[in-house]
């Protein structure tokens, strides 16, 4: 018998709808039928666990993965992973990926006419510490053009993927940079109706993590769904309530 609560659902308007016509790629891929509400069971409150030894300590420094240093502006991206009750999410896996300083991804489908950097892959991994903290050293990604509409450019961004404590708390998002003039025009950034919610995707310049003569710091805190306060009713067959 499990007496463990499920996880909270998202607040309306704080998440994108699946269909967002100005993001053209969603037109033929967004489901049109309503989602079927699924109460959380053991399948949704559990998740793969990743041990320290699965993640190379150097994986959180994207500037040290090759023989030479990548081109571009070195930055520190750090923050905390919390749940909606402000509790740290410890020991959870964060995966990041990004374009290089010229706005080019190390990917065969990226045909943007900008140079690849032999010293930059653009993949980072980290596990949060007991306080939910993480820290990456990387270079500031470039903006780049894409085919969504005439003269479309993505603002500079870093992709983040997190597992959190449960299948239900999985999150993939993108972090943006403060003051980027492309943000107001970006259909992906703007797909979320709630302005405060989408603005939380913009990192904050951070003196505290800025290293003198070395790198600017940007802070990006991430919030995952919190637990329901009452336990879900998961009883094996035959047990009394």
């Amino acid at each position: 018998m499990n007496k463990i609560p499920g996880y909270r659902r998202y607040q309306p308007a704080t998440q994108p709808n699946h269909l967002h016509p100005t993001y053209v790629s969603s037109l033929k891929r967004a489901p049109l039928q309503p989602m079927v509400y699924l109460p959380h069971t053991l399948s949704e409150i559990t998740v793969p666990m990743f041990e320290r030894d699965t993640v190379d300590v150097k994986a959180c420094d994207l500037t040290q993965q090759h023989s030479g240093e990548p081109l571009g502006e070195r930055i520190i991206v750090s923050g905390r992973v919390l749940d909606e009750d402000s509790r740290p999410v410890a020991h959870t896996l964060i995966e990041i990926w990004q374009a290089n300083a010229a706005g080019r991804y190390l990917h065969s489908n990226d045909q943007h006419n900008a140079p690849l950097d032999p010293n930059f892959t653009g993949c980072g991994l980290a596990l949060t510490d007991p306080e939910g903290r993480y820290r990456f050293v990387t270079i500031r990604p470039g903006e780049y053009p894409w085919g969504n509409h005439h003269n479309a450019w993505r603002p500079a961004h870093i992709h983040f993927s997190l597992f959190g404590p449960a299948f239900a708390t999985r999150l993939v998002t993108q972090m943006y940079f403060p003051g980027d003039p492309l943000i107001p025009f970006d259909p992906i950034f703007n797909c979320t109706e709630d302005e405060k919610a989408r603005n939380r995707l913009i990192s904050v310049f951070d003196w505290e993590t800025t290293i003198p003569s070395e790198a600017l710091g940007f802070r990006f805190d991430i919030v995952l769904s919190g637990r329901e306060s009452t336990p879900m009713e998961t009883h094996t067959h035959g047990e009394k309530r």
Partner: protein, 189 residues
């Protein structure tokens, strides 16, 4: 509740850079208990075109119906070397394939055991959030009483059940149709 959950954004077309280190299309190494099964299929869009820039994640219990996670408090054994996690990208034809074992039954919310199932997350360029679905097994009598299948209107349940392939034991076919006719059932979790 003091904070609000962070907003989702699409994985975009270049997720391989961040995800490929953890690609895993064989969830059960030799020696892991359970009935071996290979599941293959395609991700198709609303025009029935294959989705070559998609990826699925698999999460499942072991053959005893036990998840390798501390919040599974059932008094059943976990199995060394079996995490129950897989991550498989689609190829240029939108195809994916993975090998695993059929999971055991785990408890549901209504006091009954659920039918054996895999929890699936689907990510593609164009999807602003992941889609969550499940794979159930054919010829499984417990499907009829499964609480999640019974939440779905009967005409759409078949989209959640993998199909047998004539003459090929241990291989199943399961298609993900993102939109339109035969649209796969996706769950709000």
């Amino acid at each position: 509740m003091s904070l609000q959950a962070t907003t989702w954004q699409t994985v975009g077309p270049f997720f391989r850079i961040g995800f490929s280190w953890l690609y895993r299309d064989n969830l059960a190494r030799p020696g892991v208990l359970g009935e071996r099964v290979e599941i293959a299929g395609r991700i198709l869009d609303g025009d029935d075109k294959p989705v070559p820039d998609g990826i699925i994640e698999i999460w499942q219990a072991n053959s005893q119906g036990k998840y390798a996670h501390p919040d599974d408090l059932q008094g059943k054994p976990t199995e060394p070397g079996f995490t129950g996690y897989g991550r498989v990208p689609t190829d240029d034809a939108g195809r994916f394939r993975f090998a695993t074992i059929k999971p055991g039954r785990v408890p549901g919310p209504d006091g009954k055991l659920q039918a054996p199932h895999l929890a699936i997350s689907v990510f593609t360029r164009g999807l602003l959030r992941r889609l969550v679905t499940r794979i159930y097994f054919p010829d499984e009598p417990s499907n009829a009483e499964d609480f999640a299948l019974n939440l779905v209107e009967p005409a759409r349940r078949a989209t959640l059940i993998a199909k047998k392939i004539a003459g090929r034991t241990g291989e199943l076919e399961w298609e993900i149709k993102l939109q339109g006719e035969r649209e796969t059932v996706f769950f709000d979790v």
